[in-house]
């Protein structure tokens, strides 16, 4: 950061760029502190961060496609049959 006040160097544009670094805890301590200062005083950036966290939570809570027990059984059965080479008497496999 250039200038004597690191906080002053944090623009909303820079804040947007640093958002994921901030969320990952990847910012150097003094930059992180400046970023948090900016967030505390900038409603727009604070909203972007809150919405981004909401997206994260949405993905975590609703992003997974569920598998039924039947789906699991079918897949596992097929896998074990294949690796065991057992049930099918004439299993033709593709040569590598």
């Amino acid at each position: 950061m250039v200038g004597d006040d690191p906080t002053a160097a944090i623009t909303c544009e820079l804040m947007a760029e640093m958002l994921t670094d901030l969320m990952e805890g990847d910012l150097p301590a003094e930059i992180e502190a400046a970023a948090l200062d900016h967030l505390a005083s900038c409603r727009a950036c604070e909203t972007v961060l809150a919405d981004t966290r909401a997206v994260q939570k949405l993905a975590r809570d609703h992003g997974r496609i569920e598998l039924d027990p039947d789906d699991r059984d079918r897949m596992l059965g097929a896998i074990l049959a294949e690796v065991d080479g057992a049930p099918g008497p004439t299993r033709t496999t593709e040569a590598e």
């Binding site: 993905a59 294949e82 690796v83």
Partner: protein, 178 residues
């Protein structure tokens, strides 16, 4: 990719494959699904992935490396599947995010709507951004593991997560989803 050959198998090896399946099938299926957007194709990818794992059991001794290994295999296999069927367009509006449910509690229907909205938004992302978000935010992998699965550096993975999340945010904001 060929899936394997008939071999005489030790029961312990079968048990290990089964154990890995139980632990990792959801993540493997979801990675595959978000690339191929079809349950049958995603199931094929799951099968191919665990069959391949079986042929590499000796390399999977290190428990910490199993998940990224499996997901990387699944991701690559899934990409192979869509390249093979390049000519078949997939309509994001058709994605069944959850099994169609019959009459049920309202919150089930609402959850299905939210999942559908998220699914459509995910579908609108670039392939790489979508997978980065799926791995980081849906599957909750650490960033380093996201990078490993995608075969890129951690910074590149982080950039994709960043862009993906921001694209999702602009697409989903104003829909009363949060």
């Amino acid at each position: 990719m060929t899936t394997g050959m008939a071999i005489r198998v030790e029961p312990a090896a079968l048990r290990l494959v089964e154990e890995l399946f139980v632990i990792h099938v959801d993540a493997v299926f979801n990675v595959a699904y978000r690339v191929v957007w079809s349950r049958p194709d995603a199931e094929d990818v799951v099968q191919a992935t665990f069959i391949k794992a079986f042929t590499r059991l000796d390399q999977l001794k290190d428990r910490d490396r199993i998940r990224p290994w499996l997901l990387q295999v699944a991701y690559r296999e899934a990409i192979t599947v869509i390249r093979r069927r390049r000519d078949v367009p997939v309509d994001p509006a058709e994605f069944p995010e959850r099994r169609a449910t019959g009459p049920g509690p309202d919150d089930v229907a609402v959850a299905a709507d939210v999942a559908s909205a998220l699914g459509r938004a995910l579908a609108s992302l670039s392939e790489g951004e979508r997978m980065a978000v799926v791995l980081r935010d849906v599957e909750q992998l650490p960033m380093r593991e996201v990078a490993t699965v995608m075969g890129i550096g951690r910074s590149a993975a982080k950039m994709r997560v960043h862009r993906g999340r921001q694209a999702l945010r602009s697409r989903l904001e104003g829909q009363d989803l949060w």
